[in-house]
C-alpha cells in the first residue's frame, strides 16, 4: 500500500544485524553523524509530527529473528526489527499468540516500531497494548549504553520498567533493540456478533455485555455510511463456551445480534483495520476519551466532517475509550481544521496516525499533557544531545537545533 512521505531522506544508512552492531553504529557515529533517524519497516513514517533532517539512517530491519522462545513458559524474546506478523505465524504452530492486533501488522510492522508508536488494535479491550505485554526490553542509548530492564518472567518488579518509557516515545529516547513478550494461548474457538445501532446504543450495549461477565476480547463500534454503525463483539474461548456467550448477547442487550459467519466477520474486522491504515491522502487520528464520552466524540466527528466537507469513518474500542478516525476527501485545510477542533475536544490525547492529508506544515500535536515537564526531563537524561527522533514530538520536545546550540 502507499506510504506517507517519510520526510527528507538521510544520505546514508547503516543496517546492523545484532545488538553489538547496533551499539557500534550509534557509538561510532556520535561525532560524524550526530543526528540519527531510526527506522523499522517504515509503516509509521507518516505518524506523529514529521522528522527533522538527520545525518544518517539506521535501518533496523536487519535486526530480525527470534532470540529465545519457550512455548511452555509462554514467553518469546525477539529482535526489535522482527515483523510481528511473522512471529504470530510461528507462534500459531503452538496454538499461541501475542494478544495484539494492530492494523499495521498486515503491513509488516516490526515489534520495535509498534512499541515506539504505542499502537494497538481491537484486542486492547481485554489485553491492552504492548505496554501491557512487553515483559523485558533491551535498549541502546545515544552514548552507546546498552541497558536492559524486566526479564523473561511475567511477574517481575525488580528495577524500573524502562520498556514503559519507550512505549509512545517515537524514537526520541533511544533504540529498542530486543523485546521479550508475554504470550497467550490462541483461542480454540472464536465468534463475532454484530449488533447494528447508533454510538449511544453501542455504548449502552457494551456496558451490558461487560457487566454480564461475557468477557469479550474486543468490542468495537465501527461506522457505516449513513450515520449508524455496527457493534462488533469478539468472543474467544472454548467450542462449548463461545456459542453460548454469543447467543447471550442479544438477551443481555435487548438488541438484535447476528452471529457472523467467519468470512463475514473477517470482512468486518478488515473494515475496522482499514480505518486505522487509510490510504494516500487520508488523515487518520487516534483519540482517547472516557468510555462514556465515546458517543459524544463520534457525533462531534460526524458534525465537524459535515461542516468542513470531509468524509469521516470512525472505529471505537468503546469499552475502553480509544477511537480511530479516518478523514478522506476535502482539502488539507479542512483536515487540519477538523484536527484542531478535536484537539480542543480531547486535549493532548490525540495522535496522528497518518498526516499526509494534513498538507505541508501540519500542526500535529495539540496541547501538551500535564506531565510534559517530566517527559522533557526524561528526554534530557536519555538523549541530552538530541541524537534521536527530532521533530516527532515537536513542539512538545524542543527542536533539535536548540538542543544542539545548548550542547555546544
Amino acid at each position: 500500500m502507499a506510504k506517507s512521505p517519510p520526510g527528507p531522506v538521510p544520505p546514508a544508512a547503516l543496517r546492523p544485524t545484532d545488538i553489538g552492531e547496533l551499539r557500534a553504529a550509534i557509538a561510532d557515529t556520535a561525532r560524524t553523524h550526530p543526528r540519527l533517524r531510526i527506522a523499522g519497516a517504515g509503516t509509521a513514517a507518516g505518524w506523529a509530527a514529521p522528522p527533522e533532517p538527520a545525518d544518517m539512517a539506521v535501518d533496523l530491519t536487519g535486526m530480525s529473528g527470534v532470540l529465545a522462545y519457550n512455548p511452555t513458559d509462554m514467553t518469546i524474546a525477539i529482535r526489535a526489527g522482527t515483523r510481528l506478523d511473522a512471529v504470530q505465524d510461528k507462534l500459531s504452530k503452538n496454538s499461541q499468540h501475542v494478544a495484539f492486533d494492530a492494523a499495521r501488522l498486515a503491513e509488516g510492522a516490526t515489534i520495535g516500531g509498534l512499541l515506539a508508536t504505542a499502537d494497538g488494535g481491537p484486542r486492547r479491550h481485554l489485553y491492552g497494548t504492548l505496554r501491557d505485554l512487553v515483559i523485558g526490553a533491551t535498549v541502546v542509548l545515544a552514548d552507546g549504553t546498552i541497558a536492559r530492564s524486566g526479564g523473561h518472567v511475567i511477574k517481575n518488579v525488580a528495577g524500573y520498567d524502562l520498556a514503559k518509557l519507550f512505549h509512545g516515545s517515537f524514537g526520541t529516547l533511544g533504540v529498542v533493540a530486543e523485546v521479550v513478550l508475554r504470550l497467550h494461548p490462541a483461542p480454540r474457538a472464536t465468534a463475532t456478533a454484530r449488533v447494528p445501532g447508533t454510538a449511544e446504543q453501542a455504548a449502552e450495549a457494551a456496558g451490558r455485555i461487560v457487566t454480564a461477565g461475557l468477557e469479550p476480547t474486543a468490542i468495537e463500534w465501527v461506522t457505516r455510511d449513513g450515520g449508524v454503525g455496527d457493534l462488533l463483539v469478539r468472543l474467544d474461548g472454548t467450542p462449548r463456551g463461545v456459542p453460548e456467550r454469543a447467543t447471550a448477547i442479544a438477551r443481555r442487550t435487548g438488541l438484535p445480534a447476528e452471529i457472523l459467519a467467519p468470512e463475514a466477520a473477517d470482512e468486518l474486522w478488515r473494515t475496522v483495520a482499514g480505518v486505522a491504515t487509510g490510504i494516500q491522502g487520508d488523515t487518520v487520528l487516534r483519540i482517547g476519551t472516557l468510555p462514556s464520552s465515546g458517543p459524544r466524540l463520534a457525533n462531534r466527528v460526524t458534525a465537524l466532517a459535515g461542516e468542513f466537507g470531509v468524509g469521516a469513518a470512525l472505529t471505537s474500542s468503546i469499552g475502553v475509550g480509544v477511537h480511530t478516525v479516518r478523514l478522506r476527501a476535502g482539502p488539507p485545510t479542512a483536515h487540519q481544521r477538523l484536527l484542531t477542533a478535536l484537539h480542543r475536544e480531547a486535549g493532548s490525547a490525540v495522535t496522528v496516525l497518518r498526516r499526509d492529508g494534513l498538507g505541508a506544515a501540519p500542526t500535529v500535536w495539540g496541547p501538551p499533557p500535564p506531565s510534559i515537564r517530566v517527559m522533557r526531563a526524561v528526554k534530557q537524561q536519555f538523549d541530552p544531545h538530541g541524537r534521536f527522533g527530532a521533530g516527532r514530538l515537536a513542539p512538545w520536545l524542543e527542536s533539535q537545533a536548540r538542543t544542539e546550540e545548548q550542547s555546544l
Partner: protein, 483 residues
C-alpha cells in the same frame, strides 16, 4: 534550618497535629513489614490533602531533606524504611473515596484507602479492584501503586500497573502533575507505567484513578493434593500448555500446610506433600469446560484427592488459609524470613529441589508457599533468633533470591527491592542497566531526596562498588540489621 524552625514551619502549613516529633511516636514508624531494618525518622508528617503533601515536599525540596512516603507500612522489602534525619510523609489521613463511576468502571481514591476498601466500596455496583495482595485488608492503594502489587489472581488479571488509569502525583520538587488520563490512549512516554512499581522513589501519588472489573459470572476453586511437589508442578505446566489461563494457581508444601492448619484450620490435608489451589473464573460454560480439563490433568499427574470448593464460604476458607500462610509460620517457627523470587514456570521443580538442598546444607527448614502459575516463589526460611540462627537464615534467604536470578528469573515478583534486595540488584542487572535506571530516577528527582537508598544499590549500603551483599559497618557493630 534548625529542626525547631522546620517543625514550626511544617506545623504552620499542615497544622500542629499533623507533625509528629515525639520520640515514642516516631518509633512506631521506624520500620515497615520488614522489621529487621529500623531507622527512626526525625519527623513524621500526616497531611490531610494532596495540597498538604505537596506543601510538605516543597519544604523538603527547599531544605534538601530526604522524605519517605508511607501507607500502611505492610511492605516486605523495607521500601518505607525511614531515612535518618529525614521525614516520613504518612498518607494515612488521605483515605477518601472521591468518586465512583460505575458507567466507566473506575473510581478515584486517595492513596490511604485500603486495597480491600476499594472493592468493598464498589461492591454494590458488581465491581471490584482486581489486584489482591495477601495483605489486602490493611495495605493501601498508594503502596500498591508504589510496589506494583500483584496477588494471587494476577496470572489472569495482571498487576497493579494494568489496573490504574491515572495518578495525581506530587513530584520530588513539590509540584503536582497528572500521569495517565481518562483513556489508555495517552500521548508520549508511558510515565504512569514507569511510575507504578517505582517504590516511592519518583514521587508521591495523592489521588489515584483505579480500573474496576465486573465480578466474573462463575468461579470454581479446586484444591488438589499431590504426593510430590514435582507432580504438582508438572500439573501446572500441563494446565497452561492446554491453553487454560486460570485466575489463580497456588501451591503449598507440607510444612506450609502444617502451619496454615495449625493457625486457621482451613481444611487442607495435613501430611500431603503438596497442595495445588486452582481457581477458574469467567463465563459459566468456559469455566465448566476448563474445570473438567483441570480435574483430568490433576488425576493424570497423580493427584490423591480433589476437593471442589463449591460455595462462596468454602472458597473463602480456602483463600483464608492461603492468605494466612505467612502469618501462620509463627505456629511452627519463632522467626522467619520471606523470599519473593521468581523463576520461569518450567524451572519450578528444579528451583524447589535446589532450595531444599540449600536448606539441608544450612540445617534450616524452608516452607514453600507460592504463586505457581507465574513462578513467583515465597520460600519462608524458618529460624530461631534465640538459637542464634539468624545469620545463617539470612544467608540462605539471600542465596535463594540469587538462585532465582541464576535460573533465569527475578529477585522479586511483588514485594519489591526496597532496602532488602538493593545490594543484590547487580546479580540481576549490569552496571549499565542500573546506571540507566538511575537516569530515570534523576529525571524525576534530580536532588535525590525521594526515598533515597531504596531500589538501586548505593555505596553506603552495599560498599563502594555495587556487588554482592556485604554487611554495612553499622550492621557489623549490631546497630542495624536486615530482616
Amino acid at each position: 534550618m534548625t529542626p525547631v524552625r522546620l517543625r514550626a514551619e511544617l506545623a504552620g502549613i499542615l497544622g500542629s497535629d499533623a507533625v509528629v516529633d515525639n520520640p515514642t511516636e516516631l518509633r512506631s514508624y521506624e520500620c515497615d513489614g520488614l522489621t529487621g531494618y529500623r531507622v527512626v525518622p526525625s519527623l513524621v508528617l500526616l497531611p490531610r490533602t494532596g495540597q498538604g503533601v505537596a506543601a510538605a515536599v516543597r519544604v523538603c525540596a527547599r531544605e534538601g531533606i530526604p522524605f519517605v512516603a508511607r501507607g500502611a507500612g505492610t511492605g516486605l522489602s523495607g521500601g518505607a524504611l525511614p531515612v535518618a534525619d529525614g521525614v516520613v510523609i504518612s498518607l494515612q489521613r488521605l483515605r477518601s473515596i472521591v468518586e465512583i463511576d460505575p458507567v466507566n468502571r473506575r473510581a478515584v481514591v486517595e492513596p490511604g484507602v485500603t486495597n480491600l476498601g476499594i472493592s468493598q466500596a464498589v461492591a454494590p455496583y458488581g465491581l471490584y479492584f482486581a489486584p489482591d495482595p495477601s495483605s489486602q485488608q490493611v495495605c493501601t492503594i498508594g503502596g500498591n501503586v508504589a510496589e506494583n502489587s500483584g496477588g494471587a489472581h494476577c496470572l489472569k488479571y495482571g498487576f497493579t500497573v494494568h489496573h490504574i488509569h491515572a495518578a495525581e502525583v506530587v513530584l520530588p520538587d513539590g509540584t503536582i502533575t497528572t500521569l495517565g488520563g481518562d483513556s489508555p490512549h495517552q500521548p508520549g512516554y508511558d510515565l504512569l507505567g514507569a511510575f507504578i512499581g517505582s517504590e516511592g522513589t519518583l514521587g508521591i501519588a495523592t489521588r489515584i484513578t483505579v480500573k474496576l472489573l465486573s465480578r466474573p459470572a462463575a468461579v470454581q476453586t479446586l484444591v488438589a493434593d499431590f504426593p510430590s511437589v514435582e507432580q504438582a508442578g508438572d500439573t501446572v505446566t500441563s494446565v497452561i500448555a492446554a491453553g487454560i489461563v486460570p485466575a489463580a494457581v497456588e501451591m503449598m508444601d507440607t510444612l506450609a500446610i502444617e502451619a496454615v492448619e495449625a493457625a486457621v484450620a482451613a481444611g487442607y490435608t495435613r501430611g500431603t506433600a503438596a497442595v495445588l489451589i486452582v481457581e477458574l473464573d469467567g463465563p459459566a460454560d468456559e469455566v465448566a469446560a476448563h474445570l473438567a480439563e483441570v480435574q483430568r490433568l490433576c488425576r493424570e499427574h497423580g493427584a490423591t484427592k480433589l476437593n471442589l470448593a463449591t460455595t462462596a464460604s468454602d472458597r473463602a476458607a480456602v483463600w483464608k488459609g492461603r492468605k494466612a500462610a505467612f502469618a501462620a509460620m509463627g505456629r511452627i517457627s519463632p522467626d522467619y524470613f520471606v523470599q519473593d523470587g521468581v523463576v520461569p514456570r518450567t524451572r519450578l521443580a528444579e528451583a524447589l529441589s535446589r532450595i531444599g538442598a540449600l536448606a539441608t546444607e544450612t540445617g534450616l527448614r524452608v516452607a514453600n508457599v507460592f504463586h505457581a502459575g507465574d513462578g513467583n516463589l515465597h520460600p519462608l526460611v524458618l529460624y530461631s533468633e534465640a538459637r542464634g540462627e539468624r545469620d545463617r537464615a539470612e544467608r540462605l534467604s539471600a542465596s535463594i533470591a540469587e538462585l532465582c536470578v541464576d535460573l533465569g528469573g527475578s529477585l522479586s515478583g511483588e514485594h519489591g527491592i526496597g532496602t532488602d534486595k538493593a545490594c543484590s540488584m547487580p546479580r540481576q542487572f549490569t552496571e549499565a542497566d542500573l546506571a540507566t535506571m538511575a537516569r530515570l530516577r534523576a529525571a524525576y528527582d534530580p536532588a535525590g531526596i525521594c526515598n533515597p537508598g531504596k531500589l538501586l544499590p548505593t555505596p553506603r549500603l552495599c560498599g563502594e562498588r555495587p556487588g554482592p551483599y556485604r554487611p554495612h559497618p553499622l550492621e557489623a557493630t549490631g546497630l542495624i540489621g536486615r530482616g
